[in-house]
Amino acid sequence: MQSEQGPSPQAATLSLPARIAVAVTVGVVAVGALLHLGMVFLHVAPSNTLSKEHASAVSDYVYPEFEQNWKLFAPDPLQQNVHVQARAEVRKPDGSTETTGWVDLTAMDVADMRHNPLPSHSQQNELRRAWGYYSDNHSDQNQTTPISANDLSGTYLNTILAKRLGTRLNGGTVVRVQGRAATTTVARPSWSGESVDTTTQYRELPWWTVPTAPAGQENAS
């Protein structure tokens, strides 16, 4: 198939070592490709006989660089609008403290994305995925136990809240922040004949004390 003109060496004249080298390459590449695809298949397939038996081998291979999730809007699309809201406890110059009203941070992102053909990941994914990460790692109940420093998802979500609210609010310094998720079920299609409760449900997070040196600033070198 070498259609090129010129002094190209012809493969037919390959010596035995060269043929062996080619054969070994074929073998290694074939085994490698099929092993890779097998691992990825077991990773994306539902939990099954094989993937349960080799769970640790599969996850050792797939994580971190070949991780993937293609359950896009599956098995069912999300049917609720989750808005992450936040409020702060601020300390006034006179030493008194005050709790602010709730600020709908998701609504601010949504407003920024409206009529924008190129929404930013910081508007579309940041809060949404931070909430997903948090709710995956915390039970459904309103929690009262404070979020420890070891709690990555809790620290992350609250850091977003603190950054969005800023260090000063209502004429005071932000000392603590609290988040909540306002979940509203999307009304069923008019033709479906089903009806659901579309009143907004709230889930409150515990108060979180803002670290004195807000994360990120120490790096501004």
Partner: protein, 476 residues
Amino acid sequence: MSDPRTPAAPAEDPEPAAEPNTAAEAGASAEPSAQAPAAAEPALAPALAGGSHAQDAGPAPFPFAGLGRSLDRGVSRGLAMVTGSALGPYQAAVIRIGFSLTWLLFLLREWPHRSELYGPDSPWTVALAKRLVAGNHAFTAVLWNDSRGWFELVYAVAVVSSALLMVGWRTRTSSVLFMLGVLSLQNRSVFMGDGGDNVIHLMAIYLVFTRCGQVWSLDRRRAAKAEAEEAATGAGGSAGSDPVGIALWVVMGAALVAATVAGKLATEWKVGLWAGLLVQAVWWAVRRYAPGEPRTVLNTMADIIHNGAMLVVVVEVCLIYSTAGWYKIQGSRWEDGTALYYPLHLDDFTPWPSLSHALAGNALMVMLITYGTVMVQVAFPFTLFNRKVKNVLLVAMMLEHASIAIVLGLPFFSLAMIAADAVFLPTGFLRWLGEQVARPLRRPAPPALAAVPGPRPADTGAGQAAAGQSATEAVT
């Protein structure tokens, strides 16, 4: 003969044959290159397979009589194919351009938000990111140094490497830098990404192993020029010294030494990157000083690796559609035909609410698109066995992704998926498309330059397999 199936078809072939047939395989791999016309291959395959089978013997023909022989023939043909050339050069090039363009546009769009997403201003703080990475060992150069300047440098390298990969300048090196850039930024802040980032992440890794700069690249142009010069001067065989390539190699080597000395690389990355650097040196030396058999062997090895990587890309795309489709089948909303209605009412995915709500208000349309999506996703991998049906579904999927880009406000996800779909486009269409794009660009060029792509149509007439063998050699 064509594109999508060529990488897919040999899938089964190499595996059973790899071990048992070593001798025959080396023979088969050698032959077709000698017998120039592609048509000669099937004819010579039976000879290889040994003609001593007693077929046509019994009165009641055993339906599987020819099975052994056609299996042999299939295996040797498959081997000839995967060792004969880097398959699907246009498909490899189109995904190279597609993914690098998507990532480049994304990085430019996020320029104002880059520090919030991946840098020192991110709520996913350096401390949080380091804790997660310490656990999962993901590669991210961003966390090697906490200064803002370092972050800006990594981001800049990611931007530049995307542009270089897109135009195919020193494609192999660019593809490695592109992969490192993608992984560095995405792994720095995993919770900022979505499905589009996931596709780019995987494909950036796979692209490194392909010869994706064979066509539509600056490398191709450089190689064609070198060939023309060679032909003019009559100097044959060994390649030029390539000072730019040496300089680039030295810079990469120095960076790798620094990263290694600083202890920033995990073992598997150290091994992989050093091996890559070493291979490039060997490649250069062989092309320059051993243009005979060693060059042929290296070239064949690179082709085999390319073909393996293309197979992985193709199957990966099928896995994406299969999982997306098969999980949907289990969902009650996809079953009752209303699934599409819900994303059109989610605040995060409705940049044009009146458009979304108008679409969601049409019960029949919602049902048709909901069912159509599942059918196409589930069916697609199987349609690869039929060229026409495959192409129809491909058009449907690309159109659906283009609509998702606008309606759901997911332009980069959609672009990445369209780039992934493009690996299944037929060679004829891609070449036509390439000419449409290139024609206005080529017009002002002097006749000498315009003549460069000349030989290509003739080559590729015999099957895309023939695509610029010597040209690709320059592309390590």
